[in-house]
Symmetry: C2
Subunit: 715 residues, 2 copies
């Protein structure tokens, strides 16, 4: 059938191009016209966003190579069964692994290929958690033993922390590791149903080993008592290297399909008194002696161990920008070529992007993409400064950085998760097709609001820092330590001044000034911080109670304060990056002007969401709010001609996007038709239900002469 | 492996129950305790919501039967390939069809079974569009010919309107039906690529016939010109009854996978000069004579034809309540048994529902479920009144009803689509598993914001009505016709009074009064209606321009007005239903008290979202806003003990929910483990990648003695 479709479709496309009338239009011409009308050429911005021209060109080259590499081919990606998706994901990961080794490629190429191929599989946690845990928590001997096994893939590992009944609260884990002095072994055991390890990627069918987080239990021979030293990391072998079958005492399997990420075999694991050697405990920082005595970690270690967490969160923030960028690229390009509703009979239908509600959805999300992307760059720079500080034993900036990274992880992943779905909806019916690329983008992204710390829990950590910083500064009659960096506005004196401040915007034009927007966002962050503290004090009889019922009963105000705090940082960082680019002279003035409008749109968008806070406390009056809204709408119109250029600038290749609607050339309808042909239902003309299901029912009816069935018109 | 898991899990569950300590807890005991602490028993409310005790019991009986019926079995539902999902969906639909026929079951049983089995398939549009089109647009002869073929399934139809390049704008359709007087046939033709029919359910591989919407083209032999009479409906046979293969000139197939609904074979169709007899045009209202003369429909028909649309929208609103009810049932039950974070070492972890941000997410969604459910009932009642009016030729209420049904379809589906995803997120990691039931619920629901009229487009229809109503009433110095019903507040005099009104709430307690909340919602709806009109006038030089650039450039304000209008109706209807129930005496006073709190929470939640509007125009001051927020928070605490009872009251069976987390008995962890076992990856212990992919790579590495691969720790 594919051939019949092909032939007929080619003929139809030729006719479509010839017939650009009121009805038929050529989307390729529409997107070309969009590029001509843009105020700037996107290439210099693409280079700036992606680390320079050389990197951008290398990535494009890799994309070209991968397009023709069987294990990286995407044309069948949307049609795979769960098993095929799992096997294909592993094959792709091993393909990259082998290509790097065979061709001596570096880390940058490896990272680019992993991103381009975009097929998470059974090796994710081997690469992302098992190896890093050995490197960071194993001692020299352990690293020497395990690393060659890991990099040569004689061992494939995973990281088993989460249990069926225990997620974010690590201290609640139930799995035990009890030391047996006699045999110099640990006995790893799952004592209850809810202690079943659940979720680790690669655990189901791929991993031969796991880092298992278990409570270290040390029996005291003299008293008979068992001391519980809390969760520690142990390497447990799960499968036989010859048969890949589970070892005795190990019950392991796949946990079934998820919303997305179905190439990954997330698994479950029950351990029934499984014995491992004493040196399988990760013992760089703490250890158990042959006599069964616990040697605790040095106190400095706790702070140093934040490095991994900060890195992971910075990476999540950076990824939030990429993911939202993919969604906005697809949605903006499609909205530029999709036409709906003619203003009058005989006229051409309008580009969907020309409806205010469409640009009012998409342009703020394009602005958010830039805000997140730039924040990701900044977080990575902050992480590197932290590493340097750490190596000098300097941890002063840690609390602020920890609070910032917690809250930004939450706020950025919320913006992106919700933003992808908004993009999908603006694509109308075709956004519901997997061929648009958007449903799978959403489904694979949304776990980001949950993993690596549930967003609400992370916001509460940021809120705790905010309240503690305020309290410390307010101590001694306001003479406590003055916070710096992202927390500078929480100093007692600053807060006092800020709460009395009033918005200075006189008209619409004022709202286009970064200072006006930043001042309002700062006021909101300050106000909500104070409100959160007041709420908590009211619930706890005047105290700042950081746990228990008063805290748990005040979380809405606390989370609101954390979000406002982080939104302020996102806007400030956006403005700062533009100022830097402007002084560096890397971009044309027209491009900078467009980006300035985008930054203003981002800031105003955040303010619109928080307008009630600013009106309620008297910072702003009704006329100022109305002017703000008009300024925001005006920016939509001003940015409209640059919409396509602004997403082109992200530099995403067609191979990477893998979307019928997001194609660079705008040929969306041809792409939908082409991409649908390999659908497994199209394998035969009559379809898979004809022989066994439809034919018997329909032919029985014909033989029976049409026996009357119940009236079904409203079933 | 399933057996090993089973045995070990049983043992672990026994231990878990015995070990209800700080770590391990029994979720079954938790949910039982929730039911004991509720202020009311849910059964009377269940009967009231579901049309009486008899219906509820009949549904439960059908659920019991279906649980044991092979074609209705759900245990494997999450593990199917696309082909299996398609074949299974058809088998289930035919199973219901045959059961109704064999056992002489009525419509109510059929509807209940379709809902319970919950497996959309290739017959959806045969039942939902093909048959109804013949019944409503076919003449008596056509009905007599086609209906027996349809009900006996000798013919399976679909409804092909949407084209690749044409969605909501029906007048833009490109497919043509050109009359050939010589042969007394219509020639149906797809002239361009973008005219390819795209999306119809069942079109891909199931349907033998389609109602095709095509522009009726009548050539005039004398002049040689062709008159275009716009879209009309034609029955086109697509497939051979013996082989089920496409007829000559018909190119048809499946459009590939979607976000959800993958049991349905949505299809594409290109017609290459396909000829059909003249009497295959649906000719109840308009027709073409043998001489090729067009007989147009009578003018009254246009109004009568709104009936189907109103019915479909009322049905969507009712379904919005059911779908959100499913999500809230799952999320609330799981939040009641899920425990995270102990307040102090050694203490039990807290129920997630006791964190304010969890109840602050879930309880407003429970409230919204009731609001939508009751609105659906009311819309159905309104639809029935419309039918009665129509039969008397009375169409006076139509414009208001049409505007209301448009806006409510949009607002209700937005609330439900977003609400399901919010419910999913509150379930943490396990909400990401398909076994929770929530990912597929979201993915199958979200097309509701797009189909049957894109939500934004529908809101604009409501906005058009609002502005026209205001303008009409304001004509003649305010002496124009006074609107009634849901539009009463748009009368010129009412608006004048309302714009000067000020909120009377003196304290928190005032915000618990329905009148205070309703007054504020009414003020907001009035204010946003006036703002929308002002915005449009400002864009159009003082005129109300209902199309063109001024209208398209004002859509944000217009949509905001429509949303506020509908939110007011939702709250008023909720209050009215409670008053009716109260006077009927069907519920206990404690149950009514809980529902009153819920209605207040719904209204306050809508007001919180629109607080800026009310502060900006001076209706409310900061102190009143703060009191409103406190009242809302207070309701969360007051409703907390009734959370589980309020979702139990919806009466959803475990079979229907098919969710590991939403089980009535709370045994969630056992359910997750059990439901995961049939995962196709678990078919063998070593998994599907071992032989072909993992084994060669890993064993080569062992033979090679561990060749060094690139440093991958940060890949």
């Amino acid at each position: 059938m594919a051939n019949a479709v092909d032939e007929r479709t080619r003929a139809l496309q030729e006719r479509s191009s010839a017939l650009v009338t009121a009805q038929a239009s050529d989307p390729r011409a529409d997107i070309a016209a969009e590029r001509r009308r843009a105020s700037f050429a996107p290439e210099p911005l693409t280079y700036l966003l992606n680390g320079g021209k050389a990197k951008v060109e290398r990535r494009a080259e890799l994309a070209r190579i991968l397009t023709q590499t069987p294990w990286a081919d995407k044309s069948n990606r949307h049609f795979l069964s769960r098993e095929e998706e799992y096997v294909g994901g592993l094959r792709a990961a091993l393909g990259i692994w082998r290509k790097m080794k065979d061709e001596g490629l570096g880390m940058q190429d490896g990272l680019m290929m992993r991103q381009l191929v975009d097929w998470p599989g059974g090796l994710e946690l081997h690469i992302g958690m098992f190896i890093p845990t050995i490197m960071s928590q194993g001692d020299a001997e352990q690293q020497a033993k395990w690393m060659p096994l890991c990099t040569s893939l004689q061992v494939i590992g995973t990281y088993a922390q989460t249990e069926l009944g225990h997620g974010t609260f690590v201290r609640g884990l139930e799995t035990t590791a009890t030391f047996d002095k006699q045999t110099q072994e640990f006995v790893i055991h799952s004592p209850t149903l809810s202690s079943t390890k659940w979720w680790p990627g690669g655990l189901g069918k791929t991993a031969t080993h796991a880092v298992v987080m278990a409570r270290l239990m040390l029996p005291d021979a003299a008293t008979g008592r068992v001391a519980d030293h809390g969760p520690h990391a142990f390497i447990v072998q799960l499968r036989c290297p010859d048969t890949h079958r589970p070892l005795r005492g190990v019950t392991v399997g796949d946990i079934g399909p998820k919303f997305g990420f179905n190439g990954v075999d997330n698994g479950f694991l029950q351990l029934d008194h499984v014995r491992i050697p004493r040196d399988h405990m990760m013992q760089r920082f703490s250890r158990v002696t042959p006599e069964g005595v616990y040697v605790p970690p040095p106190p400095a270690n706790a702070k140093a161990s934040y490095a991994t967490m900060l890195y992971v969160r910075a990476d999540i923030v950076r990824n939030a920008g990429y993911f939202l960028g993919r969604a906005t690229t697809i949605a903006v390009r499609y909205a530029a070529v999709r036409r709906q509703t003619a203003p009058a009979p005989g006229e051409r239908e309008l580009q969907v992007l020309d409806y205010q509600n469409t640009s009012g959805t998409l342009l703020p999300l394009v602005a958010a993409t830039y805000a997140l992307w730039l924040m990701g760059d900044d977080m990575m720079a902050k992480y590197k400064r932290f590493e340097a500080d750490r190596d000098r034993g300097e941890f002063g900036a840690l609390p602020e950085l920890h609070a910032l990274s917690s809250g930004l992880k939450a706020v950025c992943t919320w913006i992106t998760a919700d933003g992808i779905e908004e993009c999908r909806r603006t694509c109308g019916g075709h956004g519901y097709s997997q061929l648009s690329g958007l449903p799978s983008l959403f489904a694979s992204y949304v776990q980001n609001v949950t993993w690596e710390g549930d967003n609400n829990v992370l916001c509460l950590q940021t809120a705790r820092f905010i309240l503690k910083t305020m309290a410390a500064s307010a101590a001694k009659g306001g003479a406590g330590p003055a916070p710096g960096g992202s927390a500078a506005h929480l100093a007692a004196g600053e807060l006092r001044r800020e709460l009395g401040a009033r918005c200075a915007a006189r008209d619409e034009a004022c709202w286009l000034q970064p200072d006006t927007v930043a001042a309002a966002l700062r006021h909101r962050a300050s106000r909500l911080a104070v409100t959160a503290a007041d709420t908590l004090r009211a619930a706890a009889g005047g105290r700042l109670a950081f746990e228990g019922a008063p805290w748990n009963g005040s979380t809405l105000a606390l989370i609101a304060a954390a979000r406002a705090h982080c939104e302020l940082q996102l806007a400030l960082n956006f403005y700062a990056a533009l100022q830097r680019w402007s002084s560096e002279g890397a971009l044309s003035p027209v491009c900078l002007a467009a980006l300035s409008r985008l930054a203003a749109l981002f800031g105003l968008g955040r303010l619109e969401l928080g307008l009630a806070d600013l009106l309620e406390d008297g910072y702003m009056n009704g006329a100022q709010a109305a002017a703000l809204r008009r300024a925001s709408r005006g920016l939509l119109a001003a940015l409209r001609p640059d919409a396509v250029a602004l997403v082109d600038a992200f530099g995403f290749e067609d191979y990477y996007l893998h979307s019928a609607l997001g194609r660079h050339d705008g040929d969306v309808y041809r792409a939908l038709l082409d991409m649908a042909q390999p659908s497994p239902l199209n394998a035969t003309e009559e379809g898979p239900a004809w022989e066994g299901v439809l034919r018997p029912a329909m032919q029985a009816a014909r033989r029976g002469g049409g026996g009357v069935a119940p009236p079904l018109s409203k079933l």
